[in-house]
C-alpha cells in the first residue's frame, strides 16, 4: 500500500514557506504556480495513496502508522508510564477519506480563489495562508497521536484567525478574527485537559500501538477498563473542543462573524474542512465514546438542538453569507447527531457531502458577490437569474442538495443520519432519540425553506440593487480600503470568469453524484454501501478498537417513514418559499416579537457583551486605573517626591557663605574631641 501521507503534509508546507518568504516579490503566475501546484500535487498524492488503499485487500492491512521522529523519550514516569512523544502519521480509511476531502475541495477552492482574489493587493498573502491552512488541516487528520492532533488543531485555529482577519484594515474583520480565536481557545482548553487525562490514565498519547514503545490509547480502551465517569469526562472535554471548532452550542458565535473573511475562506475553512475537524475527532475517538454512552447522548442532543437553533436563525437573515454560515452550523449539528446515534460513518458521509454542496453554495454566493462588486445584502439583489446563468444553476443544485431532495447528495447523507437516529430510538431503546429525530425532520423542512428563500431572494424578481460600481464606491468611501472587487459601471453585472465558474460546475457534479457512495439500503440494495464498508473497520475491526460500534439498523419500513417525512417536509419548505418569494424578496421589517428574536439571533451576542465583555472591560479599566496609575505610577511618584523633598532640605546647607562651611568643619572637629573626652 503506497502511503504518501508525509508528502501530502509537506508539500503545502513548502508552498507556505516559499510564498511566505518570497511571495511579496513573486509574479502572479509564480504565486499561483506554487500555491495551486502544491495543492494539486498534494491531492494527487493523496488520491494515489487512497487508490492503493482501495486495492489493498485484507482490511486489516489498511492500517499504516509510520513514526518519523521520536521527540521526547524521557524515563520520567508521569501518571502510569514514562513520557514518550513521537511524531508519526497515521494512514487508515478514516484519515484517507479526510485527506481526499481536504486536498480535493481545497484544490478546487484554490483554483476559484485565483479568480476571486485577482484584484486584491494581498494576493500572495492569501495563498500563503491558504497553503498553511491545508498543511495544518492535513496534520490534524493524519497525526497519529493526540499531541500532534492538538498541534494541528491549534494551527488551523491560527490559519482561521489569519484568514478571517485577512482584510485587516477593517475593524470588523479584526474583531471577528479575535472573537474566533478567543472562543476557540476555550475549546483548546478542553482538548488539552482531555489529553492530560488521557495520558494520566492510559500512559500514552498515540492512538495505536506503533513503534514508539507504548501501547496505543485506543488499543487500551475496553469496556469496563476505566471507570465510566473518567472516560465520560474525557469525552465531554474532547467534545468541548469540538463544540468550539465545529461551532455547536454553546460556542458557535464566532462562525457567523467569520464571514468577514473572503468568501473562498468561508468556503474552505468554515464549511468544508476546518469546522469538520470536530466531527473527525469524534469519529477518531470512537472507542472512548463507545465506553461513555452518556457522552454520546450529550453529543447527539447538542448536535440536534444546534441544528434546529441555527436553522431557525437562518430563516430571517439578510446577508447571504450569514444564511450559509448558520446553515453550516445546522448541518454540523446533523453530523454530530448522527455520530451520537452510533452512526459514525453516517456522520463522515454527511461531512463529505456537505463539503461538496456547502463549498459549492459558498463559492456560488461568492460569485454573486463578486459580480455585484461586493454586495452581500439580499435586499440589494434579485433578478440575477439571467445575467448570472452558471452561478444560478449551480447555486440551485447546491440548494436542492442541501435540502435533501433525492437523488442529490444531501438526500442520501441526511436520511442516513435520520434513519439511524430513529433506529436508535426504536431498536436501540433510547427514547430521547425520538425527540431528536423529530427535531431533525423539522430542521430539514426549515433548511429547505430558508435555502430557497435565499435562491429566490438572489435570483428571482427584479433587481433591487444600485449596481456594482455604486456599491464599491460607497464602501471605499466608508472604509477607505481597496476592495477585492473592481468597480464596474452601473448595471454592468457579468458572469464570473471561467476560473471561478468551472469549480462551481465541478462541485455541482459532485453534489449530484456524490451521494451514491453511501448506502442504498433504503431501496433494498443492501449490499451497496461502499463508504460504510470502507470506513467500517475503523469502528469495528480489532486492530482499531476493542469496543466495536454496533449501530442499530432500522427496519426498512421505518427507514421509509423517516425518509418520506423528511423529504416531504423539505418539499413543503420549498413550496412555502416559492409561495412567499417567487416574485422576489421583499424585505418587511416585522414588529412580531418572535421575528425580532430570530432576526437578532436570539440576542446571544448582546447577552455575552452584557454579561461577559462589559464586566471584563470594566475590570481591565479599573485595574489599569488603580494598579497602574495610582499604585505603580503614584508609588514611584511618591518615591520621587521623597527624594526631591530630602534634597530640598539638604540644599539649605549650601548657603554659599564660606564662614558657614568653616563653622561646619569646626563643629565636626568639636564632636570628635568631645567623643574622645567622654570616652576617657
Amino acid at each position: 500500500m503506497t502511503n504518501l501521507t508525509l508528502w501530502v503534509l509537506l508539500l503545502p508546507l513548502f508552498g507556505f514557506i516559499i510564498l511566505g518568504l518570497a511571495g511579496r516579490v513573486m509574479s502572479r503566475t509564480a504565486i499561483l504556480t506554487v500555491a495551486l501546484g502544491t495543492t494539486c500535487l498534494a491531492f494527487l498524492l493523496a488520491a494515489i495513496s487512497f487508490l492503493s488503499m482501495l486495492a489493498t485487500t485484507p482490511v486489516s492491512a489498511r492500517f499504516s502508522d509510520q513514526v518519523f521522529y521520536t521527540w521526547i523519550s524521557s524515563g520520567v514516569t508521569i501518571g502510569i508510564a514514562p513520557l514518550t512523544i513521537s511524531f508519526g502519521l497515521l494512514f487508515d480509511p478514516l484519515s484517507a477519506t479526510m485527506l481526499m476531502v481536504v486536498t480535493g475541495v481545497g484544490f478546487i477552492i484554490h483554483v476559484y480563489s485565483a479568480g476571486y482574489m485577482e484584484d486584491d493587493p494581498g494576493f500572495w498573502r492569501f495563498f500563503c495562508y491558504m497553503n498553511f491552512f491545508i498543511f495544518a488541516m492535513v496534520l490534524l487528520v493524519s497525526a497519529d497521536n493526540f499531541l500532534f492532533l492538538l498541534v494541528g488543531w491549534g494551527l488551523v485555529g491560527l490559519a482561521s484567525f489569519l484568514l478571517i482577519g485577512f482584510w485587516y484594515q477593517r475593524r470588523s474583520a479584526v474583531a471577528a478574527a479575535q472573537k474566533a480565536l478567543v472562543i476557540n481557545i476555550i475549546g483548546d482548553f478542553g482538548l488539552m485537559i482531555a489529553i492530560f487525562l488521557i495520558f494520566n490514565h492510559y500512559g500514552a498519547l498515540n492512538y495505536f500501538t506503533n513503534g514508539s514503545g507504548s501501547t496505543g490509547v485506543f488499543n487500551q480502551v475496553t469496556a469496563g477498563g476505566l471507570p465510566t465517569l473518567t472516560t465520560t469526562i474525557i469525552c465531554l472535554l474532547l467534545f468541548l473542543a469540538c463544540t468550539a471548532k465545529s461551532a455547536q452550542l454553546p460556542l458557535y458565535m464566532w462562525l457567523p462573524d467569520a464571514m468577514e473573511g473572503p468568501t473562498p475562506v468561508s468556503a474552505l475553512i468554515h464549511a468544508a474542512t476546518m469546522v469538520t475537524a470536530g466531527v473527525y475527532l469524534v469519529a477518531r475517538a470512537n472507542p472512548l465514546f463507545q465506553v461513555s454512552p452518556a457522552a454520546l447522548i450529550v453529543v447527539a442532543i447538542i448536535g440536534g438542538v444546534t441544528a434546529l437553533f441555527a436553522a431557525s436563525i437562518a430563516v430571517f437573515q439578510l446577508d447571504i453569507k450569514r444564511v450559509l454560515a448558520y446553515s453550516t452550523i445546522s448541518q454540523l449539528g446533523y453530523m454530530f447527531m448522527g455520530e451520537g446515534a452510533h452512526n459514525y460513518s453516517g456522520g463522515i458521509f454527511l461531512l463529505i457531502e456537505h463539503a461538496f454542496f456547502k463549498a459549492l453554495l459558498f463559492l456560488a454566493a461568492g460569485a454573486v458577490i463578486h459580480s455585484l462588486g461586493g454586495e452581500q445584502d439580499m435586499r440589494e439583489m434579485g433578478g440575477l437569474r439571467y445575467r448570472l446563468k452558471i452561478t444560478f444553476w449551480t447555486f440551485l443544485i447546491g440548494a436542492l442538495a442541501i435540502s435533501g431532495i433525492p437523488p442529490l447528495a444531501g438526500f442520501w447523507s441526511k436520511d442516513d443520519i435520520l434513519s439511524s437516529v430513529l433506529a436508535q430510538a426504536t431498536s436501540g431503546g433510547e427514547p430521547v432519540f425520538y425527540l431528536l429525530w423529530g427535531i431533525g425532520v423539522l430542521t430539514a423542512g426549515l433548511t429547505a425553506f430558508y435555502m430557497f428563500r435565499l435562491v429566490y431572494g438572489i435570483f428571482a424578481g427584479g433587481y433591487r440593487g444600485t449596481g456594482p460600481a455604486e456599491h464599491a464606491r460607497d464602501e471605499e468611501e466608508e472604509e477607505g480600503i481597496r476592495h477585492a472587487h473592481q468597480s464596474r459601471s452601473d448595471y454592468d453585472i457579468y458572469e464570473s470568469p471561467p476560473v471561478m465558474t468551472v469549480p462551481l460546475i465541478v462541485l455541482s457534479v459532485l453534489s449530484v453524484i456524490g451521494g451514491f457512495i453511501g448506502s442504498l439500503a433504503l431501496f433494498g440494495a443492501s449490499a451497496w454501501h461502499p463508504l460504510v464498508t470502507f470506513l467500517n473497520p475503523v469502528f469495528t475491526n480489532p486492530i482499531w478498537t476493542n469496543v466495536p460500534v454496533q449501530a442499530p439498523v432500522a427496519s426498512v419500513p421505518v427507514q421509509w417513514l423517516s425518509t418520506g417525512l423528511s423529504v416531504g417536509l423539505a418539499l413543503l419548505g420549498i413550496l412555502g418559499a416559492t409561495a412567499l418569494y417567487r416574485n422576489g424578496f421583499q424585505y418587511k421589517e416585522s414588529r412580531n416579537p418572535l421575528y425580532q428574536l430570530l432576526f437578532h439571533k436570539y440576542y446571544v451576542d448582546e447577552f455575552f457583551i452584557l454579561v461577559l465583555i462589559r464586566p471584563l472591560l470594566w475590570l481591565g479599566r479599573t485595574a489599569s486605573r488603580l494598579l497602574e496609575r495610582d499604585v505603580l505610577d503614584g508609588g514611584s511618584r511618591e518615591v520621587g517626591k521623597v527624594f526631591i523633598g530630602t534634597s530640598g532640605l539638604l540644599r539649605r546647607l549650601q548657603t554659599g557663605y564660606m564662614r558657614n562651611y568653616a563653622l561646619a568643619i569646626l563643629l565636626g572637629a568639636v564632636v570628635i574631641i568631645i567623643y574622645y573626652a567622654v570616652r576617657g
Partner: protein, 177 residues
C-alpha cells in the same frame, strides 16, 4: 619665692592670649595686624624659655619681620579704613554659634590636656639623638643645622621648591587683568 620660670610662663601666657584676642577684636585691620605682631613676639619669648634659640630668632625675623610686613602692605592698601563690622551681617546667628563652639572647644581641649597622661619617659630621645647633649657640646644653632642638612635634607629641598611655586603663583595672580 616664686619660681622665675613659672612667673615668666604665666606672664607670657596672659600676654599672648590677650594679644591674640586683640587680633580678632579690633575693628581696624591695622590694629589687628599690630596685635598679631605682638602675639608673635610673645610666642618667640616662649620659644626662648623652651630653649629653642634659633627658632625664636627665626620667628622674629621671618614671621614678624617679613610676613607681617607683607600683611601690613596689603592691609594698608585694601582695608585701612574699611570697617567690616559696620556692614550689615547677613548671617547674624553665626556669631553666637561660633562663640559657643569656641568655648566648647577650649573647654574640651583643656579637659583632655589636664587629664592626659604625662609624657612617657621612654619617648624621650636619648643618646646621640638627645638635643640637650648636642646643644651642650656644640650650641643650639649648630644642633639645628646638623639636623636640617643631615636628617631633613629632603624636606628642605622640597620646601624650596614650594617657595618657587608660591613666587610664581603670586606673580601670576598679581598681574593686572
Amino acid at each position: 619665692m616664686i619660681d622665675i620660670q613659672v612667673l615668666s610662663f604665666f606672664v607670657l601666657a596672659v600676654a599672648s592670649t590677650a594679644s591674640a584676642i586683640g587680633v580678632i577684636i579690633f575693628k581696624n585691620a591695622v590694629h589687628s595686624a599690630l596685635s598679631l605682631i605682638l602675639t608673635l613676639l610673645f610666642l618667640a619669648l616662649f620659644y626662648l624659655q623652651l630653649g629653642a634659640m634659633f627658632i625664636a630668632v627665626v620667628q622674629i625675623l621671618i614671621y614678624a619681620g617679613a610676613i607681617m610686613v607683607l600683611f601690613l602692605f596689603v592691609v594698608t592698601m585694601l582695608a585701612a579704613e574699611a570697617r567690616d563690622t559696620e556692614l550689615p551681617d547677613r548671617i547674624p546667628w553665626q556669631r553666637g554659634i561660633a562663640a559657643t563652639l569656641g568655648l566648647v572647644l577650649v573647654g574640651a581641649l583643656s579637659y583632655l590636656l589636664f587629664t592626659g597622661t604625662a609624657i612617657d619617659a621612654s619617648a624621650k630621645a636619648s643618646g646621640a639623638n638627645s638635643l640637650s647633649l648636642v646643644v651642650k657640646t656644640q650650641g643650639d644653632t649648630q644642633a639645628f643645622g646638623l639636623a636640617l642638612f643631615h636628617g631633613f635634607a629632603f624636606p628642605f629641598e622640597v620646601t624650596s621648591l614650594l617657595i618657587v611655586v608660591a613666587i610664581l603663583g603670586a606673580m601670576v595672580l598679581g598681574r593686572k587683568g
